[in-house]
């Protein structure tokens, strides 16, 4: 929307409505790279059902809003992944799913990209190897929050990760 610099009440409402529509209709590209793709498929399947949140997977990057980088990005596939990202229309977001995509994971080798944020900017990092479907849903909800917060002049700098305050001690040991 070309109405920046204005904080009139109507425009704010328009912005809010648009932000609402965007975060409730996040369509990811259906691209799976490795192990995490299996959990991504599980997230889309009946038990977790991303369609509840209005998320349906699109085959073509031109029609998608989110790129879920699910799996190890190796050097050879990196330029193509970047191309996919560039083919997506604005506004677009990137979720880096799992350890490999976020920082190379257990593969510090000659052929693996050490973190997808070296080639495309990432919005949400999801830890895990592979993250469970619940974790992916958490990431998506974090992204929704991020879109909600991203109004003019106010940007969510960092996503607070809630650490459980108390954990159960391991028995017997």
């Amino acid at each position: 929307m070309a109405i920046t610099g204005n904080s009139g009440i109507i425009l704010t409402t328009v912005e809010e409505v648009l932000s609402w529509s965007r975060r409730n209709s996040l369509w990811p590209v259906s691209i799976g790279l490795a192990c995490c793709a299996i959990e991504m498929m599980h997230t889309a399947a009946s038990r977790f059902d991303t369609d509840r949140l209005g998320i349906i997977f699109r085959g073509s990057p031109r029609q998608a809003d989110v790129l879920i980088v699910a799996g190890t990005v190796v050097n050879k596939v990196a330029p193509m992944l970047k191309l996919i990202y560039e083919q997506m229309p604005d506004p677009k977001w990137v979720i880096s799913m799992g350890g490999c995509a976020s920082g190379g994971g257990p593969f510090p080798t000659y052929s693996t990209l050490q973190g997808v944020d070296r080639i495309i900017p990432v919005d949400v990092y999801i830890p895990g190897c592979p993250p469970t479907p619940q974790a992916l849903l958490w990431g998506i909800i974090q992204l929704q929050k991020k879109i909600k917060e991203k109004k003019e002049g106010k940007e969510l700098k960092e996503i607070p990760i809630r650490v459980p305050t108390e954990s159960k001690p391991i028995k017997q040991i």
Binding site: N24, S25, G54, R62, Q63, P89, P91
Partner: protein
């Protein structure tokens, strides 16, 4: 004065039809997603509005405000034209579809159709065929491999099924003795007057043809995701993309279901149990049932290969529809 009032009435009616169809198509997406969800043992859209009621609005707003991306080496004129070509004719078919008999409210006679011309069915078929060109143009204009294959597949499928569809419609036309959709409805009297009892072959052919024309599953080769990414609309984004599924999957299916209902199930006829709006309710109920039938097929079956589809069209559907014409003609001759 006469002319002005006619024009005003027509414009108002058209607006109602178009806007109504837009809204209906948007909510048909929700119905489809909910239906598919329940078939697949999941809830479908749930959290956006009450049970996902606001989902289509969110989707529409998002798609409308998405960046309008035109790739570099496309044929720009055709690229823009294609999505309109797919959408506008599909919605224009509505002009000849009657939703009921004229009714009188407050002394005004209201005709629940835009026009009743005596070649209504042919016009509908013609618009339907033009709508298909949108898909083929989209495939060609994108200047990309997957869309082109998708567009050509669609062309191959349609050449076969347009012919079968046209011939299958001849049966009911012969029985009614008219091309006007209103008169075809009027020719079907009572429960056993519906043409489905006399034209089962034609009905089967038309079911297949509608599935093929609207690209629903056993015949959805033009956008088979596992093969062609997203088929002919791969390069489209934003609302230009949004118009394609809207036109094909929803408006197309809806309108063709309406024609099938008119041809075989007696249109708006039914027992007068809903009062003054009984014809509308019967009509939409029947169309809705047809629509749900297509959804059911779509979410159940695997898809054919493109050569198998054309094989069915030319080797099974076309002979069947010709046979149907032949049988109908003999019966009409014998009965006099």
């Amino acid at each position: 004065m006469e002319i002005i009032s006619t024009v005003v009435v027509l414009v108002v009616k058209s607006l109602i039809f178009i806007l109504g169809m837009f809204l209906a198509a948007a909510y048909l997406t929700l119905i489809e997603r909910k239906f598919a969800g329940h078939v697949q043992q999941r809830p479908g859209p749930l959290h956006v509005g009450f049970h996902g009621l606001l989902q289509p609005i969110a989707d529409a707003l998002k798609v409308l405000t998405k960046e309008d991306l035109v790739p570099n080496n496309v044929d720009k004129v055709l690229f823009y034209l294609a999505s309109l070509m797919a959408f506008v004719p599909a919605i224009m078919i509505l002009a000849v579809i009657p939703f009921g008999d004229p009714i009188k409210i407050f002394g005004f006679e209201i005709k629940p159709y835009i026009t009743d011309i005596n070649v209504g069915l042919i016009l509908a078929l013609a618009f339907g065929s033009i709508s298909i060109y949108g898909v083929i143009f989209a495939g060609w204009a994108s200047n990309s491999k997957y869309p082109m294959i998708g567009g050509l597949r669609k062309a191959a499928v349609l050449i076969g099924y347009e012919v079968a569809l046209g011939f299958a419609m001849v049966g009911p036309i012969m029985m009614a003795g008219s091309f006007s959709l209103r008169e075809i409805v009027q020719a079907q009297e009572g429960f056993f007057g519906a043409f489905i009892w006399y034209q089962p072959l034609a009905f089967i052919v038309i079911l297949f043809a509608i599935l093929a024309e609207t690209g629903r599953t056993p015949f959805d080769v033009q956008e088979a995701e596992a093969e062609l990414v997203s088929g002919y609309n791969t390069e489209y984004s934003g609302m230009k993309f949004g118009l394609f599924p809207l036109a094909e999957w929803y408006i197309g299916t809806f309108v063709l279901s309406a024609i099938a209902v008119i041809l075989f199930f007696g249109g708006w006829k039914g027992p007068h149990i809903f009062g003054a709006f009984s014809p509308f309710i019967w009509f939409f109920l029947k169309v809705f049932m047809m629509f749900m039938f297509f959804l059911w097929v779509h979410w159940t079956l695997p898809r054919y290969r493109v050569d198998q589809i054309t094989e069915i069209a030319w080797k099974v559907m076309l002979p069947l529809s010709l046979l149907n014409i032949f049988i109908t003609a003999i019966i009409i001759m014998v009965k006099g």
